[in-house]
């Protein structure tokens, strides 16, 4: 199926062309092409099982961890093919960070949660440098003031919203260029959700963000571009305000007006 709308971005950070994903015999993503622009928030919406999370996981090769999953097509980050056999997937995942649906801090201290990424990538030579990375990351995630006096407490003792911001801080700590968020607010209450959405706004200045969401209101609030997936096809993509006010494809219109979902 051909995608309706504008798949091209003015200044793309990532470029995906003719991406197909198979789980064994199941064709989960069908010939998807889309650009992800610099410093933009791209929202991916669609009914459950439409493939938006699967597609998201292609962008940092997390699908590699799933047995029987095969990806074809090309995806580039700053012009570099991320499925190149010579590419170091460890470095890729440092450049393309990820935040999951359920907040999932390590069962370790708040400090260790943030320090883990920088440690394995050798980003800090001294303890002072590491301290600084931890503080900066927590500040960027808007969590520093709440946790600065208890950095040695377990990260799992924080509230759900704080845990999710901790996970965002953990992703930021390795200085990524792109942050992927897989329904980051679906387990949170409205206040914690609002806090994360504010944070997404702030982070956009420095990072490219791709967010999968079930909430069309959320997509409308946080993103500049929206992509609508249906049964593995990318049906339509375009500026968020246009998608929600003047959708061009009948399926998109049916979905956003609540006729199915």
């Amino acid at each position: 199926m051909t995608t309706v709308g504008e798949i091209h971005a003015v200044n793309p950070r990532m470029t995906c062309r003719r991406v197909n994903v198979y789980y064994g015999d199941k064709h989960a993503i069908k010939n998807v092409s889309i650009d992800i622009g610099r410093n933009e928030v791209l929202a991916m919406i669609g009914p459950s099982g439409c493939g938006k999370s699967t597609f998201l996981r292609c962008l940092n090769r997390m699908n590699d961890t799933i047995e029987g999953c095969r990806v074809t097509g090309t995806i580039t980050l700053d012009g570099q093919d991320i499925y190149d056999p010579d590419l170091d997937v460890v470095l890729l995942r440092a450049q393309v960070g990820m935040v999951f649906q359920k907040p999932n801090p390590f069962p370790k201290s708040i400090y260790d949660n943030i320090a883990y990424g920088p440690k394995i990538h050798g980003l800090a030579q001294t303890r002072a440098e590491l301290d600084e990375i931890v503080e900066t990351s927590l500040r960027k995630a808007g969590l520093w003031d709440e946790v600065k006096d208890r950095l040695d407490h377990p990260g799992t003792g924080l509230s759900g919203g704080q845990q999710q911001r901790l996970c965002i801080a953990r992703a930021i700590a390795v200085s990524p260029e792109v942050i992927l968020m897989d329904e980051p607010c679906s387990a949170l209450d409205p206040i914690a959700t609002a806090r994360i959405e504010e944070l997404i706004h702030e982070l956009r200045e420095q990072y490219t963000i791709v967010i999968v969401t079930h909430s069309m209101q959320q997509a409308a609030r946080v993103s500049q571009r929206t992509a609508f997936f249906h049964l593995g096809d990318l049906i339509e993509v375009g500026p968020t305000d246009r998608i929600f006010t003047r959708p061009r494809h009948p399926l998109t219109e049916d979905y956003i007006t609540g006729r199915f979902g």
């Binding site: 940092n60 997390m62 047995e67 460890v90 440092a94 999951f100 390590f106 394995i120 953990r170 992703a171």
Partner: protein
Amino acid sequence: MKRGCWERAVRCGCYAAGFWVVSGAVAVVGFAVRQGAPHVTPKLLFGGVSAREALFGGAPVFDGLWPAVVGTFYLVAGAVALAAPLGLATGIYLAEFSRGRLKEVLTVFFDVLAGVPSVVVGLFGFSVSLLLHKMVSPRLGPCLLVAAFSLMILVLPYVIRATQSALEGVPQEVRITALSLGADPVQNLAWVLIPHSFRGIASGLLLAVGRCAEDTAVILLTGVVVTAGVPRSLLDPFEALPFYIYYVSTQYASPEELERGFGAALILLGVSVSLFAVAYAVRRAVGHWALYRA
């Protein structure tokens, strides 16, 4: 009304089953305590030698159970020390690296190994000691090392399967967290997967400790003897409590000897409980360290 009846019946059945199991265990332990407690005296442990001399003076104990207590400890420690690294490594391999048909075959194989009667494992150990005797040195024979090695084979499947299922039980979202931060599989294993599944892995080791402390058939064929004294090296024969209980209860010549057997059973219970306590303490301490180390 009908549903209420059903619910009550199921609940009563569950309570009854639980009560039955617990009261069975209480009855066995109570019986051992009642029969054995009056006979657990320093004399039973150390015979004619004073406790201080036996413990610190190195005085040999000929007519007490002390060498059997020490032998049992050495045996369990040796077997678990051998089984732990091998079992953990194999469990990790099965859970994390092995795939497809090979994994299925190996899993079934270890389940079958878990079901091998211990006397067969004992025979295998005996053959090993014969082989060592013939091929390596005529001085070698059934000894502490061969017995610990054979017990290792007996408990290896528990350790392997416990490790494997604990690791496979780590939820997918936890499994991919460190990977998404750029950790390689080994870092993920060390930082996330093993700490996360530590309790399950430790339970497998606890089970192994219990099994090693009580098994008689294996050591019967691989080095346990009636009188050996406290073992001085891994290549010596040794005494052990389960064997003492076995041979006293089958060959006692007087009621007093049988009473000593009950005393020994109680001591074996005590040894098992203290081994469990140590293992629990280690599990708590290491578990906490693994999760919250700086």
